[in-house]
Symmetry: C2
Subunit: 327 residues, 2 copies
């Protein structure tokens, strides 16, 4: 059974405590508080950790865990328009060692590394009473895109179908595609890179915590709000599964209305399904077409009972929940 790991005011406190006194790095463009660290020369770095019983349970095989550890990290890099290229792994493993577990984990990790062109270049293995994994991924963005540069009037787009991982986790009878998405997310990294390099995305981030929270973050960072059309949010799951559960590892981006055809063309070339779900507006907050304010419950609905892999972006300091939603 997974432990809960919903919004945690302590986490913001920890991040603030660590970030507040950190010295500036030469050439650093984005540091603590964004999806990934970004340097002037385009180097991008991100790290995520996964703890057994907190971030995964027996719905995931050891190979799934290996895959997902890579996927959640390359998702961050791709969402900045970066190509991931290398990784460093730490593994804390209980003694005596379960070699079959490591073997299967390595299979999944290597399969994901091969898919996204990531080379494992270093790491550290140690004993730990509970399986604890972390992966640092480095890459390069020729034309990086941030979450903070959305412009009022831009369209809001998402890739893929949302809510599949929610179905995989919450449904008593999930479809195979839903279980597969929970176990082996497939972030559209190459599409993120293509959008960025074509200069089409005005702002971009990945969908890890659900559209409601993540779009709230993009809007907060960009100093705007958004109007969403619930009918356009892709997927056949209930609205709350589509917008509030998370674990989608799809892309969320904004783009100029003039670039609609160009965006569709890039998506079509890469065979990536995309949906235009709304637009950025001057008024802060998220609203639904015909639905008034985005229900606050959508931000917190699953907070107390879903696993997070990783639980939440450990770097985002501004969340919808801190801007008028229930705490």
């Amino acid at each position: 059974m997974p432990a809960t790991d919903g919004p945690d005011p302590d986490e913001d406190w920890v991040i603030d405590r660590l970030a507040s006194r950190s010295a500036p790095a030469p050439g650093l463009v984005l540091g603590i508080g964004d999806d990934a660290a970004l340097f002037e020369d385009g180097r991008v770095y991100t790290v995520d950790s996964m703890v057994e019983g907190v971030h995964w349970d027996d719905k995931l095989s050891p190979a799934d865990v290996g895959w997902k550890l890579v996927a959640v990290n390359v998702s961050d890099v791709g969402a900045m328009g970066g190509r991931p290229s290398f990784a460093l792994l730490t593994m804390g493993l209980p003694s005596p060692l379960d070699r079959a577990w490591v073997d299967a984990f390595a299979d999944g990790l290597h399969a994901a590394c091969a898919k996204w062109g990531v080379a494992l270049v270093g790491g550290d293995t140690t004993r730990s009473p509970v399986r604890t994994l972390s992966l640092t991924v480095g890459g390069h963005a020729a034309r990086p895109v941030r979450r903070s540069t959305g412009r009022v009037g831009d369209d809001v787009w998402v890739t893929g179908q949302l809510g599949l991982a929610a179905e995989g986790f919450l449904s008593a009878t999930p479809r195979p595609a839903a279980l597969a998405r929970l176990r082996r997310p497939e972030p559209p990294v190459a599409f993120g890179v293509a959008l960025a390099e074509a200069g089409l995305a005005s702002a971009m981030m990945d969908l890890s915590d659900g559209l409601a929270r993540d779009l709230g973050r993009l809007c907060d960072a960009s100093g705007c709000g958004a109007l969403l059309d619930a009918e356009m949010i892709p997927g056949d799951a209930p609205l709350d599964w589509r917008v509030a559960f998370g674990e989608d590892y799809e892309l969320l981006f904004s783009a100029s209305v003039q670039d609609r055809d160009a965006v569709r063309s890039v998506a079509s070339m890469q065979d990536i399904p995309i949906s235009r779900v709304g637009r950025l507006e001057p008024r802060p907050g998220l609203r639904l077409v015909d639905g008034g304010e985005m229900p606050a419950s959508l931000f917190t609905h699953f907070a107390a009972r879903v696993p997070r892999t990783p639980p939440r972006r450990g770097r985002t300091r501004s969340t919808p929940g801190r801007n008028g939603e229930a705490t």
Copy 2:
């Protein structure tokens, strides 16, 4: 009480399992199996993790843990002749959060980051039943030095005094300097960089697992052996504490006999004590002047009862113990 974490054949197996199928990274010069990953353009990356109860006990305050996490990583970078510049941190912390612990930890971490010019640029915070930390450090080596390029006939040098951390851990009445070394190691990073950039070190690595094991690794990697003069090994602790305990985080390097004065000059300018403790020889293995073979016990003496912070280099695949010593 610290758990034990001595030589573990499983660890080599894990590393081999992970390394065996990793794709090559473009421009990668050194990958899994060395102190740090090194790219052609001089980028250097290393990662180490620390788990409470495995890598530290109550001899270390939370601030000491923060300091040490930075120190053990910059030690790896400096030992390759690299200047560390940035870091990404993961913290797994039990719930409810102990803010005082995090506060003190952050103080130590920031103090060490300030000392070695490291900027914290990202991270991930999550819940975990046991405190688990990992730090990835990146840097740059203008003229990188490996452990594998020692030449027969070269002098073998070490910095500092060895055995202080051993005294800090093992002695019932340790001196303040010994406790300080155990708690707050001070790897001579700038000296490693200066030696490397002056082209004076033919091979170099840091002393984390004790001179006996680490020199054995340098020799194995360089395809040679070494003759050690026990009288010259610096420190006033018993020989086994000086060569077999580890946790020194000093530098071990080889240099041409012709460069003795130049080496001393660089050390003097940086106010770093150095000692010439032996020389590299064609015959494999470590020998003591007048003492015959290096006693096998020195490689395994503390194996079953000392903490390692980190336990052992999780990347070294060739150890003295696998080349003729007791297993």
